[in-house]
C-alpha cells in the first residue's frame, strides 16, 4: 500500500481546491481551479486503477469544460457579485454532506474481497468477457457491449446537449437580448494569436494531438481509451486552433453545417448498428448476430462501429458548443468598478478581421 499517502495528499488538495473555488469571487480564477480539481480527480482515479475514467475526467473535466467556462465568462462577467449568505442553503448542504458521511458507515471496507461488487456482475465481466467478446480491455467490453445500450443513451445525452445549446443560444429571445458591443481596439488586451511562442507551439502540437485522438479511438479495445476520449481529444485540437487563430479560422476547416451533420451522424451510426442487429436476427445491439458462426467477430465489428459513432458525435458536439459560444456577440454589461480585472478575451474575438495563418509567419 505504498500509494496510500499519495491518495491522502490528493484528497487534501481536492478539499483545498474545492474550498477555494467556493470562496473565490473572481470567476476566471475559479474556472481555472475547477480544471485543477478535475485533474486531481483524474490522478485519484489513476491511483485506483480506473484508467479509462481518469482519461475521460482529464480530457473532459480539465480540458473542454475549462474552455467552455472561459468562453462563458468572455460573454458575461468575471467577478461574482456579492450575495447575501443564505443560512437555508448552508443548512441543506451540510445536511447532504452529513447524510453522505453516514452512508459510509455500512459500506464494505475499501478493497474488501468479500464486497458485493466483487461478486455481482463485475465478477462475470472479469471472468467471461474474454470468451464472450474477446477484447483485452474489459472496460470497453462492458461499455460497448454488455451495457452498450447505456452508452447509446449517453451518446444521446451528448447529442441532446448539442441540440439544446444550438436551440438556446440561437433563439429569438436570446438574440434580442444580446446586442453586439464592439471592443475598442486600443483598450483590448493582447490576443493569443499575437503571441508568437503560443502560435509556434500550437502549430507543432496540432498534428500530434489529432494523431493521438485517432490512436485513442482505434486502441480503445486494447488499452484505456475509446470513442468518448478520442472525440474529446479530437475536438480539443480544433478548439486549440480556434483559441490561437480565432473561431472563424476553424469555421473555414469545419463549417458549422458539417459539424451539425456529424453530431447527428454518430448517433445514427450507433443506432444503425443496433437496428442492423435486428435484421440479422438478434436483439437490438446484439453484435453476435452479425456472425453467428463466430460471435466474437461480430462483437469486434459492432464495437468498432459504435465506438466510431461515439467519437464522431462527441467531437462534433464539443466543437459546435465552442462555436456557438464564441460566435455570439458580447452582450452589454453593467459598468464595472474601477480596478476590476479586465474580462479574459481569449476566445471571443469575432469582430476583428481574421488573418488566416500563413506558412512560416511568426
Amino acid at each position: 500500500m505504498t500509494e496510500l499517502p499519495l491518495e491522502a495528499v490528493l484528497f487534501v488538495f481536492l478539499l483545498v481546491v474545492g474550498i477555494v473555488v467556493g470562496r473565490l469571487r473572481n470567476l476566471f480564477g475559479a474556472a481555472m481551479l475547477t480544471g485543477i480539481f478535475s485533474f486531481l480527480s483524474a490522478g485519484l482515479f489513476t491511483l485506483l486503477t480506473a484508467v479509462d475514467v481518469a482519461f475521460t475526467e482529464a480530457a473532459v473535466g480539465a480540458g473542454i469544460s475549462t474552455v467552455l467556462f472561459l468562453a462563458t465568462l468572455a460573454l458575461t462577467d468575471d467577478t461574482e457579485r456579492e450575495s447575501e449568505r443564505s443560512w437555508l442553503a448552508i443548512g441543506v448542504v451540510s445536511l447532504t454532506g452529513l447524510a453522505l458521511f453516514f452512508g459510509t458507515f455500512d459500506m464494505p471496507a475499501f478493497g474488501d474481497p468479500d464486497a458485493p461488487i466483487h461478486h455481482g456482475v463485475g465478477r462475470h465481466y472479469l471472468m467471461h468477457s474474454w470468451d464472450e467478446i474477446g477484447l483485452p480491455n474489459v472496460v470497453t467490453s462492458v461499455l460497448a457491449s454488455y451495457r452498450g445500450y447505456d452508452t447509446f443513451g449517453e451518446l444521446a445525452v451528448v447529442f441532446t446537449a448539442g441540440i439544446g445549446v444550438l436551440l438556446l443560444l440561437r433563439s429569438k429571445a436570446a438574440v434580442m437580448g444580446a446586442k453586439a458591443k464592439p471592443i475598442p481596439v486600443r483598450s483590448r488586451a493582447p490576443y493569443v494569436r499575437e503571441m508568437p511562442i503560443v502560435r509556434a507551439v500550437a502549430k507543432v502540437m496540432l498534428p500530434f494531438i489529432l494523431l493521438f485522438a485517432l490512436y485513442v479511438q482505434a486502441h480503445g479495445d486494447f488499452g484505456p481509451g475509446g470513442g468518448f476520449q478520442a472525440g474529446v481529444v479530437f475536438a480539443a485540437a480544433f478548439i486549440l486552433y480556434g483559441l490561437v487563430w480565432g473561431p472563424r479560422a476553424v469555421q473555414g476547416i469545419a463549417p458549422e453545417r458539417m459539424l451539425e451533420g456529424g453530431m447527428a451522424f454518430g448517433v445514427l451510426l450507433y443506432g444503425g448498428v443496433g437496428v442492423a442487429a435486428l435484421f440479422a436476427g438478434g436483439t437490438f445491439l446484439d453484435y453476435s448476430a452479425f456472425t453467428p458462426e463466430h460471435p466474437s467477430h461480430g462483437q469486434h465489428w459492432g464495437i468498432f462501429l459504435v465506438e466510431l459513432g461515439v467519437g464522431i458525435t462527441v467531437s462534433a458536439v464539443m466543437v459546435v458548443i465552442y462555436f456557438v459560444f464564441t460566435a455570439r456577440p458580447r452582450p452589454r454589461l453593467p459598468k464595472r468598478k474601477k480596478g476590476a480585472l479586465a474580462p479574459p478575451r481569449l476566445t471571443a474575438v469575432p469582430e476583428l478581421p481574421v488573418e488566416t495563418p500563413k506558412e512560416g509567419s511568426s
Binding site: 453522505l100 455481482g120 447505456d150 444521446a156 436551440l167
Partner: protein, 512 residues
C-alpha cells in the same frame, strides 16, 4: 409481422430516439414536422401494442438488449404498469405534436424548427426509456436525456422570462438527477448489481438478515433516491421549479410535460419504494408513508390548490393545480397498500389526460384572445363557446365530478384511504376538492357571467382544439366506462407488489 412485434419494447424507444438525429440532418421545416408527427404516432401505436401484449401475459415480458441476459446486460421489462405508463405518455406526446404544428411557427425561431422537433422527440424517448427499462442505471441515463431536452424546450417560450424558468428547472432538476445517481451508486455498492429485479431481491436478503438494525448505506441510498425523485416530481416543498416551467414553456411543450414528465417520475417513485426497497420495509419498518409522505402530500394538495386560486394567468393556475394533483398521487402511494397504488396509477392516467387537454385548450385560448391572463377572458363563453365548454369539461375533471376520469381516480383514492383506516385523510381529500371548485369556478364566472368586450376580435384555431377534444373526450369516456382501466390498474398494482424472485442463473454459470 410477428418478428417485428417481438422487438416492440425496444422500438418504442428507438423510433423517436433515431428520428431525432434524422430531423437534425434533414433541416427542412415541413419534412421535419411531418416526420416527427409520424414517428410520435408510430410510437403511440407501439405503446398500445405493448399494453395488449402485457394483458395477454401473466409474467412481465423481458427484452434482452445486446442479447445479454440480465443481470449482465440491460433488460426492458413490459409489465402491466410500465405498459400503461408508456401508452399514456406516447399518446399525449403525439397529440402535443399535433397541437404544436400551429404553435411552433410563432414560438420557435425560423430555421430552428427541426431542432425543436428533435428535442421534443428526444424528450419523449427519454421518458419512455425510463418507464420501460428494468435497469437502475439505465433509468438515470434516460432521465438525463429527457431532462436536458426539457430544459431547452421550456426555454423556447417566447418571453425572456422563459430563460429564467428553464434555468431554475435546470439547477433543481440537475440536483435531483445527481441525487438519484448517488442513490443508485450506493445501491450498486451494497448489492453488486444494477438490474431492478436483482437489486430488489438482494436488498430483501439484506433486510431479512437484520430486520431490526438498519443498514445505513442502504438507508442513505433510499433517502437520496427519494429526495432526487421528489425534486423531479415536484412534491411539496420541492415544487418551486414547476409553476415557472409550465407557465413559460411553449403551449405544446406545456401540454406534453404536464401530461407526461411527472407521471413517469411517479412511476419511478412507485418502483423505488415498492420494488427496490420493498413495501413491507419502507411502509412498515421505516414508516415512510405515514410519517413523511402523507403529511407532505396533504400539504401539497392544499397549498397547490389554494395558490392556484390567486394566479393571474391560466397557465400558472393550471401549474399550481398540478402541484396539488401531485399531492394526490403521492398520498395514494403513502398508504403503502395495493389499493393505494392502484388509485395512484388511476390518478396518474386521469390527471395526465385532463391536464394535457386543459393546456391544449389554453393554447386555443391564447391563439384566439392573444393572452392567457384571466382578466382578458370575459365573455369567452359567447366568443368561443366550444373552447369555453372544453375548459369547463377539463375543470370539472380536475375537481372530480362524477362522469369524468377525475371521479374514478378520486373514488379509488377514497376507497384506499378507508381500507387502510385513514378516515381523516379521506375527509381532507374531499375538502381539498372543494378548493379545486373555487379555482375552476373563478374561471367559469369570468367566462360566462361577464359581458364580452365590444371591440376585440377573436380568431379561431380549430387545429388546437383537435388534440384538446380528443384528450378531454378520453377523460369523459374513461369516467363513464372505467371498468377496463380499473382492472388494468389493479393488475398492475398487484404485479408491483409481488415478491421479487431471483433471476434465473446465467447460461455460462457466471455467478460461481
Amino acid at each position: 409481422m410477428s418478428g417485428l412485434k417481438a422487438h416492440f419494447p425496444v422500438l418504442l424507444v428507438v423510433v423517436p430516439l433515431l428520428t431525432a438525429p434524422l430531423l437534425a440532418l434533414i433541416r427542412q421545416k415541413q419534412v421535419a414536422r411531418a416526420l416527427a408527427l409520424l414517428s410520435a404516432l408510430a410510437t403511440a401505436v407501439i405503446g398500445w401494442g405493448l399494453v395488449i401484449a402485457a394483458r395477454e401475459q401473466v409474467e412481465p415480458l423481458s427484452y434482452h438488449l445486446g442479447g445479454w441476459p440480465p443481470p449482465i446486460g440491460i433488460e426492458y421489462v413490459v409489465s402491466q404498469a410500465s405498459a400503461f405508463v408508456v401508452a399514456i405518455v406516447s399518446s399525449i406526446a403525439a397529440l402535443g405534436l399535433l397541437l404544436g404544428t400551429r404553435e411552433t411557427r410563432k414560438e420557435v425561431t425560423e430555421g430552428q424548427q427541426h431542432l425543436y422537433y428533435a428535442a421534443y422527440l428526444l424528450c419523449l424517448a427519454g421518458l419512455l426509456g425510463m418507464a420501460i427499462t428494468g435497469d437502475a442505471f439505465n433509468v438515470f441515463v434516460f432521465l438525463e436525456i429527457s431532462s436536458l431536452s426539457t430544459y431547452s424546450l421550456v426555454a423556447m417560450g417566447n418571453r425572456r422570462r422563459a430563460f429564467s424558468a428553464a434555468f431554475n428547472y435546470l439547477i433543481l432538476g440537475t440536483i435531483g438527477g445527481t441525487f438519484v445517481l448517488i442513490g443508485i451508486g450506493l445501491l450498486y455498492q451494497v448489492t453488486g448489481t444494477l438490474n431492478v429485479q436483482d437489486i430488489a431481491h438482494r436488498v430483501q436478503e439484506l433486510e431479512d438478515v437484520a430486520p431490526d438494525s438498519h443498514n445505513l448505506t442502504l438507508l442513505v441510498a433510499f433517502v437520496f433516491m427519494i429526495v432526487g425523485l421528489g425534486l423531479k416530481l415536484a412534491v411539496f416543498p420541492l415544487h418551486q421549479w414547476l409553476p415557472g416551467a409550465y407557465a413559460e414553456a411553449p403551449a405544446a411543450v406545456s401540454a406534453f410535460l404536464a401530461g407526461t414528465a411527472t407521471k413517469v417520475i411517479y412511476f419511478q417513485l412507485l418502483r423505488t419504494t415498492v420494488v427496490f426497497f420493498g413495501a413491507a420495509h419502507v411502509f412498515g419498518a421505516l414508516r415512510f408513508g405515514t410519517h413523511v409522505l402523507m403529511p407532505l402530500s396533504i400539504a401539497g394538495m392544499f397549498i397547490g390548490s389554494i395558490a392556484a386560486i390567486y394566479q393571474p394567468t391560466l397557465k400558472r393556475m393550471l401549474a399550481y393545480s398540478s402541484v396539488g394533483q401531485v399531492g394526490y398521487l403521492t398520498l395514494a402511494l403513502s398508504f403503502g397498500t395495493e389499493a393505494g397504488v392502484q388509485a395512484g396509477l388511476l390518478h396518474l392516467g386521469a390527471h395526465a389526460v385532463t391536464k394535457a387537454g386543459l393546456f391544449c385548450v389554453v393554447a386555443a385560448i391564447v391563439a384566439g384572445v392573444g393572452s392567457n391572463r384571466i382578466q382578458r377572458l370575459n365573455g369567452l363563453g359567447k366568443r368561443m363557446p366550444i373552447v369555453a365548454f372544453a375548459f369547463v369539461l377539463g375543470g370539472v375533471g380536475l375537481i372530480g365530478v362524477p362522469g369524468t376520469s377525475g371521479f374514478v381516480s378520486k373514488w379509488a383514492l377514497l376507497q384506499a384511504a378507508f381500507a387502510s383506516e385513514h378516515y381523516l385523510v379521506a375527509g381532507l381529500v374531499l375538502l381539498s376538492s372543494l378548493v379545486a371548485v373555487v379555482y375552476v369556478w373563478r374561471i367559469v364566472e369570468v367566462m360566462y357571467f361577464q359581458a364580452p368586450p365590444v371591440d376585440e376580435k377573436t380568431t379561431h384555431d380549430n387545429l388546437a382544439m383537435v388534440p384538446a377534444l380528443i384528450l378531454l373526450g378520453a377523460s369523459v369516456l374513461f369516467g363513464l366506462f372505467p371498468d377496463q382501466v380499473v382492472e388494468l390498474a389493479a393488475d398492475a398494482a398487484h404485479q408491483l407488489f409481488l415478491e421479487p424472485g431471483s433471476l434465473p442463473p446465467l447460461p455460462t454459470g457466471g455467478h460461481g
